[in-house]
Symmetry: C2
Subunit: 404 residues, 2 copies
Amino acid sequence: MNGKATTTRTKLERGRSALGPALELVHTGRAPTRAVLTSELGVTRATAGAVAAELEALGLIRVDSSPGAAAGSQGRPSHRLSVLETGPVVLAAQVHADGFRAALVGLGGRIVATSPGCVAVMADPAQVLGEVVEAGAGLLRASGLRCVGAGLAVPSAVAEPEGTALNPLHIAWPAGSPVRDIFAACVRRAGITGPAFTGNDVNLTALAEHRHGAGRGAQHLLCVATGHRGVGGALVLDGRLHSGSSGLALEVGHLTVNPEGRPCHCGGRGCLDVETDPLAFLTTARREPGPEESLLKQAGNLLRAEYDDPAVRQAAEALIDRLGLGLAGLVNILNPDRIILGGLHRDLLEADPERLRAVVADRSLWGRSGSVPILPCTLAHNSLVGAAELAWQPVLDDPLAALA
Amino acid sequence: MNGKATTTRTKLERGRSALGPALELVHTGRAPTRAVLTSELGVTRATAGAVAAELEALGLIRVDSSPGAAAGSQGRPSHRLSVLETGPVVLAAQVHADGFRAALVGLGGRIVATSPGCVAVMADPAQVLGEVVEAGAGLLRASGLRCVGAGLAVPSAVAEPEGTALNPLHIAWPAGSPVRDIFAACVRRAGITGPAFTGNDVNLTALAEHRHGAGRGAQHLLCVATGHRGVGGALVLDGRLHSGSSGLALEVGHLTVNPEGRPCHCGGRGCLDVETDPLAFLTTARREPGPEESLLKQAGNLLRAEYDDPAVRQAAEALIDRLGLGLAGLVNILNPDRIILGGLHRDLLEADPERLRAVVADRSLWGRSGSVPILPCTLAHNSLVGAAELAWQPVLDDPLAALA
DNA sequence: CTGAGTTTGTGCCGCAACTAAACAAACTGC
DNA sequence: GCAGTTTGTTTAGTTGCGGCACAAACTCAG
């Protein structure tokens, strides 16, 4: 088994080969009707019709026979394609410094139900994941829907293929915890069907935004976001998450953005991590971080509420300059066609979009690569939706096999 | 033309869909026999046999019916598959600071003929490319082989989709020269058939090494190389060159590797470009660059011949440390599973491989990503072979369509 | 030398995914 | 009310490929 047998897809396993792409088009909202499904897939109307009928028979999508108020165009109105509300769901879970949350997510990134966010995170991943999966299982029982998989977002790099969390420091878990296996075990124990997946939260945010949010249509999407501490990055290439050869790509926190900056635990100085995260903003603005709220919320509130205060404004501008320097470095390496920002970086972008774009353009090397659009993340619960995307992926790749 | 019509491959255009992958396997030497072709493609023996027969009928490969000295294994010996020596070729061209060169390259990266390297490069790209294409056309007439395309490697970032050379400074061409169109015009004018492509030389080096050299089998291959001035990078993902959304990815020359270093024209300080190129090596070793040889050759000779000299050794170690810092930054962003180095960087690696690997491991963040193998480029004329790969790509993607 | 075992190449059948073409349906506009 | 346009459906035909059976070419044991 040295990789020679490259997934021998026998005829029997294969099913209709356009089924997956068709479902993905409906899932991402790019195929509102059978007519555009035909052109997007590059097949005949006969095939598109058969594919849509098969997806409908699988209980995944709905074909509205009632023409409804057709658009003002000529010709016979096309039937609308949409995700079936009563179709299967996946269990999505998210763990962050504030607590954890579980949700059921349908096709199209539709959040069917969420548990109330829990505020406590313990040092034992098995306990936390057991609770969050149990919450999800409760939602599932209440809904009566079929579950086809589970996905988990954690604020840590996740090494592949082991599925271990390498730096879950801000949630007090031990480094190297086998989160993927723990999560999968919890899922099985709770009687939830389907495979279980685990990923880094910023990666999953990028995936969710690419499919349902600000990243739609981008071919080379770069996402940079800060949670409570540290900075994460992600890259979505041609619709697939690029997480490197062992899941550790886009660990952008240690780009140098301020050679005279504060020391970083990595051994360097002025890393993006310690220069542009919420704590950096609060200390640069000479505010004492309080214990009652998360650093992210404190920083965001300060930025929005007191932007008139010169100290706050100067701190914001300093962070924007350093973030811009880091983004420019990434632009020179990755040449994305869109950048989206999350967490405090999103707030910084909205505080002074022109300044950030100017810095990036100034420090990027050539041509259009410097004028790449920079947008804020738009999706609510984006890493939760991203965790769901992970679980949906097998269904999108091969609906027949995944639902069998 | 907003990308909606995704290459409507009608049944007639499509041909045998396993044809391209099969040719690629033979081309890269991964399918020495029909038996391994069967397992690599994941098809039945019947299909593999039909595919091989079709490739043979197209005049691309040869199926040795004579079993020859079969390996010591049991069972019926498999017929050997190999590239047909008298099959079609592509015209490959390379321009660098020392001059230019043309070659004919067959499948498998086999150099069929090369022109003598010319030492003069003029400031007018049309004149240079006219001469190099004319040299290639001469080789082609002398060989009597069929030509299916042309590829050009230039020491400059090439912006897509325009095909303009953004920074061909070291060969004294005007920035923004439309090299792709100029090359294509020269190719047409010389009566050479097939499409013409242009790419950055380091990108093409990486592509060539991935298919025929030190990068074989890597899934995420990072290549960093220095020519006479400046540093270039390239990334090959799953066998395809990743050049970003507009061809400008992996412009790694302006990573900061020495905060107190020399100023760079980009506005920063201590960029990889000015800290690890041949000129940096010569000046760090306190040698006066002479005019008689290229900087690359002077630096390489100095490194190999006088490594016992403390000044030379210290300069090499300083450059290795800075290169290592830059590579570690790239490892954190790209998480490659192999790194290959070319030009002076290759010489630095061979001078002290342990030191370089230690620096990269020390400054990479976690786990195996820091112990990524670092190897020297092995292929002679690698950017020339890479330029040929560019021209071969349409044939590898769809042999029937490309040869029609 | 012979026959059993093993691996590879090939001919034949049939499935199923698709195209092509003709037709039917549902709209708009004159 | 009819022509024009766009969409959905039916039918027939094509084809790439899996499955199978068999033949071919080797090794090895006795």
